[in-house]
């Protein structure tokens, strides 16, 4: 049973300064699937991904990744992270970027060539990353995450700013990886991309407001497209959440009165 779970998070709390980014997030992400992390910008997608790959300072809670505590030494070979905006060395060639990651992971030598073919950058391998187009740059970032054949790949907004053709190509690549058994966690704020995922986590203001599948999302909301479905869910959540907020405020008010 545990073997089917890639990521298990319980009661995760993250604070930044005085604000609570997460105040008790629970979630389970299955293995071998593409899980889409969707929500408006600022909703906590990046923080959640950072928590999963173990670079986020957390206040409390448990994050278990592939059966180990997030960020533990052994996971650094098994999970890869592609940050928002690529995080590649622009002043190195494509091959040099990949060779560096391969050296850090002690990946086999031919891994660089294998990955270059997978992302279709063989012809550009000698070019400086800074001279590439935005789409190619994104693929370099993805290629770096593929080195060493990790079991889990976490990608933060990998398709942002790309044209529809490139986006479709990337999602085909993700699908191919998932078919090979790789667990993919991909964030996006483009709701159309939701339909390409196996599972969906919809986030808003640091909370998971839906843990569903694309079909169930559309069915549940009766919406025609994911954009409308997401808006419906946000409306619903706003209703519930403002209620609880109001009741909490009222409760606090009563409490203060009682205290006086």
């Amino acid at each position: 049973m545990m073997n089917n779970v890639a990521v298990a998070i319980s009661q995760l709390r993250v604070r930044r300064g005085r604000t609570h980014v997460f105040d008790g997030v629970d979630l389970v992400i299955p293995r071998g699937q593409i899980t889409g992390l969707l929500g408006p910008s600022g909703c906590g997608k990046t923080t959640l991904m950072r928590s999963i790959v173990g670079v986020q300072k957390i206040a409390s809670g448990e994050v278990t990744v592939l059966g180990e505590p997030a960020g533990s030494r052994r996971l650094r070979h098994r999970a890869a992270y592609g940050t928002q905006g690529g995080a590649v060395y622009g002043d190195l060639s494509v091959r040099q970027n990949l060779a560096y990651v391969a050296a850090l992971l002690r990946a086999p030598r031919h891994d660089v060539d294998r990955v270059l073919d997978e992302v279709g950058l063989r012809a550009q391998s000698g070019q400086l990353v800074d001279s590439l187009s935005g789409g190619q740059r994104t693929r370099v970032s993805l290629a770096m995450a593929l080195i060493g054949s990790p079991e889990l790949i976490v990608l933060d907004e990998p398709t942002v700013g790309l044209d529809p053709v490139l986006r479709a190509e990337l999602w085909e690549l993700f699908r191919g990886l998932a078919d090979r058994g790789v667990t993919m966690i991909v964030s996006s704020h483009v709701m159309d991309e939701a339909l390409r995922c196996d599972r969906l986590l919809l986030m808003r203001e640091g909370r998971i407001i839906a843990d569903t599948t694309p079909a169930a999302l559309l069915e549940d909301t009766g919406a025609a497209d994911p954009d409308a479905a997401f808006l419906t869910l946000i409306e619903r959540d706003r209703g519930i959440h403002s209620d609880t907020r109001r009741s909490r405020r009222e409760a606090r008010g009563q409490h203060e009165e009682a205290g006086e």
């Binding site: 790959v53 986020q56 992270y81 940050t83 002043d91 560096y100 050296a103 992971l105």
Partner: protein, 244 residues
């Protein structure tokens, strides 16, 4: 710590530099130009350049390497590549030492050229062996690299990183003994200068220039090395895998 990852990191940093020939030129040539300017300034006054030229040799590699290192590592923090590296098996020590190694090699090149220029072209008169002058320049550049690595942890922007120079570097220059021999300073300032690494670098250079031997040269050099190692340790302590 792991040697191969440290070497991979050093190789990567040098690879980045190789694609930036302008920076290499600045790093390698700028100190020579400044030494040349200094020599020219005192060309009509006999013996002044011989007295101060050595100390200047200790200064420029330090300043240049401080700037280059603090900006480069800051760029790594800000571009997200550092965060990516922190999810790989790369140890923090490998990262820091990889940088120190790469810039140490650049420092070797820089010191070789600067010392040759100062002695060969500007006619700097040195009593001691030239390799010792080079050694002090390299150790000094390493100190600059180490402090730069450390300082970059406290800067959020390139602008701030550059502002650290007046804060961390200028007092060391002023109190280092270049403007006034340290034993003539007010007691308090002399006590402060005893705690600044650049003071020892200038002591070492002056010892080489005067033809001193043994402990007079290597004592201060070792102190500078100790400061550099200390700064590297602090730099790796400020590097965090988990950030807020």
């Amino acid at each position: 710590m792991n040697g191969s990852r440290m070497f991979a990191t050093a190789g990567r940093v040098l690879g980045q530099l190789r694609h930036d020939p302008r920076s290499i030129a600045l790093m390698v040539i700028a100190p020579s130009l400044l030494v040349g300017l200094f020599a020219w300034l005192f060309s009509d006054q006999d013996g002044v350049f011989d007295r101060f030229g050595g100390a200047i040799l200790a200064l420029f590699p330090f300043v240049v390497m401080f700037l280059v290192t603090s900006i480069t590592t800051l760029r790594e923090r800000r571009s997200g590549t550092l965060e990516r590296l922190m999810t790989t098996p790369l140890d923090k020590a490998d990262f820091i030492l990889g940088y120190a190694l790469a810039f140490g090699l650049m420092a070797l090149l820089q010191a070789g050229i600067t010392v040759s220029f100062a002695v060969g072209v500007c006619g700097l008169d040195v009593e001691g062996p030239l390799w010792q002058l080079g050694l002090v320049a390299v150790v000094d550049a390493l100190l600059g690299t180490a402090l730069g690595l450390f300082a970059s942890a406290f800067a959020q922007t390139e602008f701030q990183a550059v502002q650290f120079m007046p804060l961390l570097v200028f007092p060391q220059i002023i109190l280092g003994g270049l403007f006034m021999p340290r034993d003539q300073m007010p007691d308090v300032l002399q006590a402060v200068s005893d705690w600044l690494p650049l003071s020892y670098a200038i002591d070492a250079i002056n010892a080489v220039a005067a033809g001193d031997e043994g402990w007079d040269v290597f004592g201060p050099v070792l102190i500078v090395v100790a400061f550099a190692v200390g700064a590297l340790v602090l730099a790796s302590l400020t590097l965090r895998r988990r950030t807020p």
